[in-house]
Symmetry: D2
Subunit: 140 residues, 4 copies
């Protein structure tokens, strides 16, 4: 699993390189130029991947809902069971006497993950929510 | 907790209303105009809230990392313990032999949540990640 | 062209309505609840429209480039002539001795507009750029 | 103005390098690894710059409005004259019998550019709009 590292050289105008070095510094103490280039490449690959229909991606859907809303938890459970193959795991936080935050981790084809997320977001009583897509980590 | 509902009337050109009704239909079977207006208002409020320094918000940070990277888990744990007051909970998924997905739920002032997220994203070995901010659910 | 206004009523919990009224106030002095609901509905419709393949949309592509880069202006002109049916107009600003900002207004099917934008963004010498999609204004 | 090019070497696992080369290919025929690394670095710098209060940035605000709305053009002109120092130029497109698209190029401190944009977006009759921030092109 420690893969062979390949090397290539990058040419950059002096001024851009100076500003890049400031960016490297802002990104954290332990990081060097190579590391930040790899980060930027991975970000671009993940963005492309998540925009491509047919790719298998991970999604995390963060929703806030009122747990007093009639039948809401039943409905959310029933959606999650309908798509149990795409729902990896769920994390629940009690925000206050009324509100819950739930993070639902999804896995599947881009369009399917978005479809399941929309079904959940469209459920009456879900106050707000947002889906983030990311990579399954393969080849990255 | 079932709050008093207030009513107000909205005027809309006929064509826009027709397109709104299509949007209501797309947002889910059980939803009506009132419900979708409330959704849109909440989305706008949450967006404003998350862009305002000083507000207490929830954050979910999704990261993908290689669990073979030297000391990475120790470093991630140590950051999380430094900010234990802002880290509510963590969900972990084993993606494959190398990669892990972790969702870290944060709570705190907008800038602080972003700062902690950047510290985690800046750790060597974290391959990619994204932060989503949302509401604590109060008054929404 | 002054269309008939239709009316419908919206129910909202008192607390949410108070926060909505603050939002209305922030959106500008002359705006009232109806106006802001229409804004939010239009934003949601435009977002949906721009995410739907096959729809005719407007795009504005903002690029920054170095006008000393060899042949760059020739290449940009040649792309724009290849797609003259989709390129409505162009605005040019001289930023300093080296850099130019150009805004290119595009019209066409979502995917085509994105394709033309990517071609321009992929031209050697274009330093950075961003595409924004919006509505053609019909039925909105 | 042809600046001295500096060189540095980047280490990358073989698999990631293969996927990076696919990305380089997708970004346009004439591009090589160095060029795409510079693009990614510039994108990251521009994003940071635009998120930093106090920086001088360029903005392009794209709005769609109904030119029959009472006094709208007068109001838009009056805002633009109030901030004439920050409004570089304007491009106008007649979309159909009712709708206009206008692109307003702004220059100034991040917060000021956003403030002027919000004033314009908050004007009654502006149907929808979006602001994009980018660099002035210096040191990039």
């Amino acid at each position: 699993m420690p893969q062979d590292l390949m090397r290539f050289s990058v040419a950059m105008p002096e001024e851009l390189l100076m500003r890049f070095d400031e960016l490297v510094a802002r990104r954290g103490l332990a990081k060097n130029r190579s590391e930040v280039v790899r980060d930027l490449v991975r970000e671009a690959l993940v963005e492309d991947e998540c925009a491509t229909p047919g790719r298998i991606v991970m999604g995390t859907l963060t929703i806030v809902y009122d747990h007093h809303a009639a039948d809401l938890q039943d409905k959310l459970h029933s959606i999650q069971h309908d798509f149990f193959e795409n729902i990896v795991s769920t994390l629940h936080v009690h925000l206050d006497a009324h509100s819950c935050l739930e993070v639902i981790v999804l896995k599947g084809e881009t369009g399917l993950v978005q479809g399941v997320a929309n079904k959940i977001l469209g459920t009456k009583g879900v106050k707000t929510g947002r889906l983030v897509l990311t990579t399954t980590g393969e080849h990255i």
